[in-house]
Symmetry: C2
Subunit: 277 residues, 2 copies
């Protein structure tokens, strides 16, 4: 099977004015990448109906396998994701009984009266499947449309992650199977980015099927501790042997540079990986 | 004058696989917002020539006043921004003498020999103006094309910020003038998002020209300390008096709720504002 592709749409003026870092797009990307889905694009837009509709139509017209939308799923005036998803796809916005029971259940659980405006969160495009939100009130929305599977998530990170990890990821694994991302990397000290270029090119020529990245990090000029983080990855655990070979070759070539100090090869995504700034 | 608009394009597999948070897009947005430029979209893509070319053409075809590109500006194999900017706009890639002197000067300053591959960073689309990079080797690139002003920046945050703040922002202020973003906000404790909806709607109706955002924050259920951060903004300091009125009205209405505790009204962007996670 081909590697499934995904696009992420993040909504919110707080993102486009630079008030809030779009860590949601990163977290969603990481969870999708971990199960072998290739995230090809993030689009971040303002809370404007016309722009939301245009963007959703653009993204669907590129036919990724999956679209994940985040932000604007609650009861307030700027929570306009679902209404505009519905308009963008020309699907009627209808009361979803299953979503309404999730919302009612939530209010019963926290023991508060249910205000009338939360009914908005029970409305979804016709054909939607609501996704349980264990950390808040607004259910997520799953929709199949023209061969694209779309998943609508809230913007509040705690609620977004709850639906993503508890409901959306298992569902995507069921639908697309699970393919590991395999990746290895190491750090290099005391050499500049330009010095390793010939070695990277040599390894890339011998193992052209992988993705290679070099990231310059903090540079302490006084001690000339130039620091590079090198990283190589692909999808599918069947490629691990060759990936390891490639990474070892890369490291051994760089070790021939007199001043270079390299660290051990390791997997950066293993354990509880936290995305870097 | 109309508020100038900007789009941001961020390049890098590290962003789309969720390895690195796209804080560059946030930082660029914040600096542009502060001088009154309306950032309307961020697009984040992988290091693939076809996707970079397609995206650049799409963004230019929407005719924002400004396009800022970040990532892929150095000497390595994945530094392919400039080459593909040139292809996307059908502009010949030529040696830029001014850029080459910046690069030579840099190598003289740090006292190292200049490897031949850095010459790549001296090549720019015909008609480009190089932008001095005080924190690294690769100069930024300024280009006017079909009424769009594009600014190419590196992805290494330190270098990106150096060119942005020292060269690009003053240049944009010269070109577009400077219009303040004016914004005010306050926090509310002990009330839920749904409870303030009628008041927000009331204020929005009286002051429809402003942008209103409410952000739910950490919720400590045991103590029912529901916490909302409320924020209102627009461009142009001439609107400050009305903005203050609107914000005071919003706060005074919420204060009528028995349990609500509100903080003083303040400007979140004042001083050394750091974008929130």
């Amino acid at each position: 099977m081909e590697t499934p592709t995904a696009e992420i749409i993040a909504l919110g003026n707080e993102l486009t004015i630079g008030r809030t870092v779009n860590s949601n797009a990163t977290k969603i990307s990481l969870e999708l990448t971990k199960i072998g889905i290739d995230v090809i694009r993030h689009t971040t837009i303002r809370d404007l109906p016309e722009e939301i509709i245009t963007t959703i139509r653009e993204v669907f017209s590129r036919h990724p396998d999956i679209v994940v939308l985040t932000g604007g799923l609650g009861p307030t005036h700027d929570d306009i994701q679902i209404e505009n998803l519905s308009r963008a796809l020309d699907l009627e916005l209808v009361d979803n009984d299953q979503a309404m029971s999730m919302i009612t259940e939530r209010y019963n659980k926290i023991g508060r009266d249910m205000p009338s405006m939360v009914k908005k969160m029970g409305k979804m495009p016709r054909g939607s499947i609501p996704l349980k939100n264990s950390a808040g009130t607004a259910p997520g929305v799953l929709l199949h449309h023209n061969g694209v599977l779309s998943i609508s998530l809230p913007g509040v990170p705690r609620e977004m992650m709850a639906i993503l990890k508890e409901v959306a990821i298992p569902l995507l694994q069921d639908r697309f199977g699970s393919r590991d991302i395999i990746e290895l990397g190491f750090e290099v000290y005391n050499v500049g980015e330009t010095q390793i270029i010939p070695f990277t090119e040599l390894v890339m020529k011998e193992f052209p099927e992988f993705n290679y990245k070099s990231h310059p990090k903090k540079i302490i000029r006084e001690k000339t501790q130039l620091w590079l983080s090198l990283h190589i990855y692909t999808f599918g655990s069947e490629n691990m042997e060759r990936l390891e070979k490639a990474c070892k070759l890369w490291k051994s070539k760089i070790d021939t540079l007199v001043d270079a100090k390299t660290t051990e090869i390791r997997s950066v995504f293993s354990g509880e990986f936290v995305p870097e700034e």
